[in-house]
């Protein structure tokens, strides 16, 4: 039994369409929706919150909530720009849900939120003068005060100073555990996804491309499209590995060894020509052509003092089968 289930969800807003969105989210899970800007990630969150008319089926705890209005869905929403109510103070923002529904242990919850989120000093302030981080904490407190079962976070780190990102990521995980939430977090940042997510859905052009456990998705993309999106390099045909199938594989540039001599004891070894070599802070970027294909290799400066050989000369590269990712 899944906690939240999206089954063939569709939604049309202007010229944009969400198509056949299906995935399940388990209770207590931290689920990240990863995709480029304009992929439809926020629209998925808004559809879960009931803010758009959708097709397909949305169920929560096995109850069909497809047509349930947002005010009865028990979801908390934190937008990228926090969407605090300018006509209300920090405290009034947090207590907003209390005007419209009964909040269990409201007083204790407010005290806990104020203390845990460090809002004591700003509780009576107006919201327009708060910093980005303060606004985010108020928006999170406001959402949690309504005692939601699901917390929806729309790009929560994009409006935050990069210096504080690591701290905020840890903080988001702490909130998720402390308030026993099921969290859906939308981002375009792989680092955020890999640090926070139990599971990931990759969304592109209004469609879910892949869903799975974080490591599985980030290390084994299901298609060329996802591999390219995830920044996989060296996407090449399996014929190079001696396979008869017309599939693709990818090999991490860090997993490719280079040598002047043909002395590499790897599963796959190729002789190529060095096309370009660029020295970056701690490594060299080598572009090596092997027949009609080109390999991109990262060679650490602590392993090689220079570009191994001069541009245009012969070079040997090799890698192990265990490092190959088949697409």
């Amino acid at each position: 039994m899944s906690f939240l289930s999206l089954q063939a969800l569709t939604c049309n807003v202007g010229a944009f369409h969400l198509q056949d969105i299906s995935f399940d989210v388990g209770e207590g899970e931290y689920f990240v929706i990863l995709g480029h800007s304009g992929a439809g990630k926020t629209l998925i969150l808004e559809s879960i919150a009931g803010l758009h008319k959708v097709g397909g089926k949305l169920s929560f705890n096995d109850e069909d909530i497809t047509k349930k209005p947002p005010e009865h869905r028990e979801v908390g929403f934190v937008y990228q720009d926090f969407a605090l109510f300018p006509n209300l103070s920090v405290k009034e923002n947090i207590l907003f849900a209390g005007r419209y529904k009964m909040i269990d242990d409201a007083k204790a919850l407010l005290e806990d939120l104020v203390q845990f989120l460090g809002l004591e000093k700003i509780i009576d302030r107006r919201v327009e003068n708060l910093s980005g981080g303060e606004k985010q904490r108020v928006a999170i407190a406001r959402a949690i005060y309504a005692r939601p079962k699901i917390l929806l976070l729309d790009e929560p780190l994009s409006a935050i100073d990069p210096t504080f990102r690591n701290a905020i990521m840890k903080f988001l995980k702490d909130i998720h555990r402390r308030y026993s939430l099921t969290t859906l977090h939308v981002t375009h940042n792989f680092r955020e996804a890999s640090y926070l997510a139990d599971r990931i859905a990759i969304v592109m052009d209004g469609r879910v491309q892949q869903v799975g456990r974080t490591n599985e998705v980030l290390s084994h993309p299901a298609s060329l499209k996802v591999a390219e999106f995830l920044g996989f390099k060296n996407i090449l045909p399996t014929s190079l590995l001696g396979s008869d199938e017309t599939k693709l594989f990818s090999i991490d540039p860090n997993d490719i060894l280079v040598s002047k001599e043909n002395n590499l004891a790897c599963d796959f070894v190729y002789e190529g020509k060095l096309e370009e070599c660029m020295g970056i802070v701690d490594h060299f970027k080598l572009f090596i052509s092997v027949g009609e294909h080109q390999f991109f290799v990262k060679s650490l400066k602590r392993e090689h003092e220079s570009c191994v050989i001069d541009r245009g000369e012969k070079i040997v590269i090799g890698f192990w089968k265990k490092d190959v990712c088949f697409l």
């Binding site: 005010e71 929403f77 937008y79 969407a83 005007r99 959402a143």
Partner: protein, 255 residues
Amino acid sequence: MRNWFTALLGLLGLVMLLFLTMPLFKMLVGNDVATLVQTLGEADVSASVILTMKVSLFSTLFALATGLPLAYLIARHEFFGRSFVETLIDIPIMIPHTAAGIALLVAFGHGSLGGFFDALGIKFIGTEAGIMIAMMFLSATFLINGAKEGFKKVDIKLEKVARTLGASPLKVFFAISIPNAKKEIVNGCLMMWGRGLGEFGAVIILVYHPMTAPVLIYDRFTSFGLSYSAPVAAVMIILSIMVFLSVRFVNNRLR
């Protein structure tokens, strides 16, 4: 170069500013306080000023109740014919006021619509209701457009978040949309109310008696001349400015 250009802008702007303020200034300094107080004490003057203020206020309140929902609909929803509806709202301020008065007379004075209101005991010729529709027809546009711009400025995400926090659409409208658009709404009301105060052309076609202040000023001017009508005009200008400035002052202090 820049200083020269700024000076030119200032000079031309000053011409316009003087043009706009001189007649009012002349009006205010041209009548001594004693005359103004005495004028306000005259029964027909005070009655017409109160009538004008009151009916203009009522027409603003009526437009608030019906125009605000319309403004919200236009600001928030894409629907077929939206720009046509916006044009319809703008038309009344484009047409001559006397023509508008005639149109109102034709629509509400006789015929089925007039008959319908007649059956409800509401007459528009020679009544306060007639003054009200004349004022409303020519000034509701200011309120609707002001409110529309106000609602457009309210980030729709505020309303969406409020829904997820338990508020129904109606509650969101009152708790979030209106309070965050209130400056533009109040300014729109003020514009409508002020414009209603000065309505003459349409009012005079529908209602000569009871006299609103602009009709009284016109009546005194044509019957007795400038010296008899100027103090009434000055009283009206002072009262309008006072109300206008105080509401705007309060509105600017609203958070």
